[in-house]
């Protein structure tokens, strides 16, 4: 293992020290738990608090999107490990501004259990809490069992839209409706050409030969669903887009947001080549692109790979996507 680290067991704490110092304008630790990271001005009165969290190692997610118009608090776990109950509970307490709390999470066994236990405890304290679980990954199939799908880059879009909705002063039920609407209209699929190494494990999560790629990967360095021969990126984009488009399905005349997300070690140069082909492919299908994101939003340490997300957008979602945000890694005016 070759990494710029000190103690593999302390990477998250040391990262947080640096991050919080640089971004003190946006975020701070809540008093009650060192892994409960909240908006600098939390609790913000008169709005629903949008709270998420999960394992670390996904920079800029999750804490990079704490701020006005997106997230109110993030429970930060160990690398790729769900945060424990007290961290989530403290996020809820510290972010709660009197209008309830929406817990957003990816569909991972640990997150589901820890967030559920924290939600129960918060409700016992009299805080209104609702949960919404992202399931946008089509990589592993489960078309008929969406409750088994992972939440991947679509989570970023859910935070953006729910954050904007909450900022307008909408009630908890409405903010939750938007989480479910975004999730229902978003689909993602990923591919990787190199794994990542969890620092404390010290070994790569899988091994690929020079000419191989792993199809259907998530963002924890876990293996995907199939190992295939590496091909020119146009063919890879076509294959991913085909699976994503057919899953919802997205149809001619639809307007979509596209998100090409680098998984940590894929240069923007390659991501824009992928974007070029995605544009061509969607145009050929009569699908219009209303907004496009290209970059790193939800990474898996130094995994080399990318994912394609489509979100079908209507007027309501377009406005929420375009709404202002002021966070360390997404600024829109």
């Amino acid at each position: 293992m070759k990494k710029f680290i000190n103690d593999p067991m302390r990477v998250v704490d040391e990262m947080l020290e640096g991050f919080l110092a640089v971004n003190a304008r946006y975020a701070r630790r809540a008093a009650g738990h060192p892994r409960a990271i909240v908006r600098a001005d939390a609790p913000v009165k008169g709005k629903v608090a949008v709270v998420t969290g999960g394992g670390s190692g996904h920079k800029p997610s999750f804490i990079g999107y704490i701020g006005k118009g997106m997230l109110d608090a993030v429970a930060a776990g160990e690398i790729f490990t769900s945060p424990p109950v007290p961290a989530v509970l403290e996020c809820v307490r510290a972010a709660h501004g009197g209008k309830g709390v929406l817990l957003l999470l990816g569909n991972y066994a640990g997150d589901v259990m820890n967030f559920d236990m924290a939600a129960e405890l918060a409700q016992e304290e009299g805080i209104e809490v609702q949960q919404a679980i992202a399931t946008d990954d089509v990589g592993a199939g489960f078309q008929d069992e969406p409750h088994k799908r992972r939440g991947v880059s679509g989570e970023f879009l859910i935070w953006k839209c729910c954050g904007a909705m909450a900022e307008r002063g909408e009630p908890l039920s409405e903010v939750k409706r938007i989480a479910e609407k975004v999730n229902a209209n978003a689909r993602t699929m990923g591919v990787a050409i190199a794994p990542c190494t969890v620092p404390a494990a010290g070994k790569p999560t899988f091994v690929l030969a020079e000419n191989e790629m792993e199809v259907g990967v998530g963002h924890h360095g876990e293996p995907g669903v199939a190992r295939e021969a590496l091909r020119p990126v146009d063919e890879i984009v076509d294959m991913l887009a085909e699976k994503v488009v057919n899953d919802l399905p997205y149809r001619a005349g639809d307007e979509v947001l596209t998100l090409i997300n680098g998984l940590g070690a894929t240069p923007l140069l390659e991501l824009y080549i992928a974007q070029r082909r995605l544009q061509q492919g969607l145009a050929g299908r009569g699908i219009r692109i209303g907004r496009a994101f290209v970059g790193e939003f939800f990474t898996a340490l130094e995994m080399a790979g990318f994912s394609i997300t489509l979100l079908k957008i209507d007027q309501e979602l377009k406005e929420l996507i375009a709404a202002p945000a002021d966070t360390p890694y997404l600024v829109q005016t």
Binding site: G77, I79, T81, P84, A109, M113, M117, V198, V225
Partner: protein, 214 residues
């Protein structure tokens, strides 16, 4: 008598903490084939926290010891294993409440309660290639042994043997829960890490109690 049963339990728990640490790399290797390869790290961190917590519990009743272990597992590390093993210890602790000594039947009931807690929390069933595939046969074996009048030592031995078989049998299963479920048929031939952890814990419990009684 309180000191007696607590003292025994603390020796068992300390032995478990040490054995989990010794198996850290092995558990990570098993997990790497099916997940993100950190199961051993999570387990070692969790039980390291448990070991530290045990120091202040020498005079506590058994139920309090088990509840403290459960809360530590839930609170300290997170992940999926924290809530699952934590709930198991909390439930076993509830059964032990008010008991100054344990019978074979109490122990079988504690294991049963632990299993029920894990099912409730994790929503898995036997056959899904999870920790339950090591725990469920162990609970059944413990119940049978207790009903037949076996000693605590033999109840634990029966449970340990059944859980070792159960863990090995997960190689033949296709994962239906958790991250591994996304790999489908690719999970065949690999032993589940969570099930292996359960079998390690029960083996150490059986060995420690056997050693204490000889």
């Amino acid at each position: 008598m309180t000191d007696h049963v607590t003292g025994k339990a603390l020796r068992v728990l300390r032995a478990i903490c040490e054995e989990v640490e010794r198996n850290k790399d092995y558990l990570c290797e098993l997990d790497a084939a099916l997940g993100d390869g950190d199961h051993g790290i999570s387990m070692a961190k969790s039980f390291h926290a448990v070991a530290l917590r045990l120091d202040g519990l020498g005079n506590a009743p058994l139920s309090e010891v088990l509840q403290a272990v459960g809360m530590t597992l839930i609170s300290e590390v997170g992940g999926a294993m924290g809530p699952l093993f934590g709930t198991a210890f909390l439930r076993a602790g509830k059964v032990a409440a008010g008991k100054e000594s344990l019978t074979s039947s109490d122990l079988a009931q504690m294991l049963r309660a632990a299993e029920e807690g894990i099912v409730q929390r994790g929503k898995a069933q036997p056959g899904d290639k999870t920790m339950l595939d090591a725990l469920h046969p162990a609970v059944e074996a413990a119940q049978r042994a207790a009903t037949e009048g076996a000693t605590i030592r033999d109840v634990l031995r029966a449970a340990a043997a059944a859980s070792a078989q159960g863990a090995a049998a997960t190689k033949e299963m296709v994962a239906k829960m958790g991250r591994a479920s996304r790999l489908g048929e690719r999970t065949l031939g690999h032993q589940d890490a969570g099930a292996t952890s359960v079998s390690i814990i029960l083996r150490v419990a059986a060995e420690t109690v056997s050693a204490q009684q000889t």
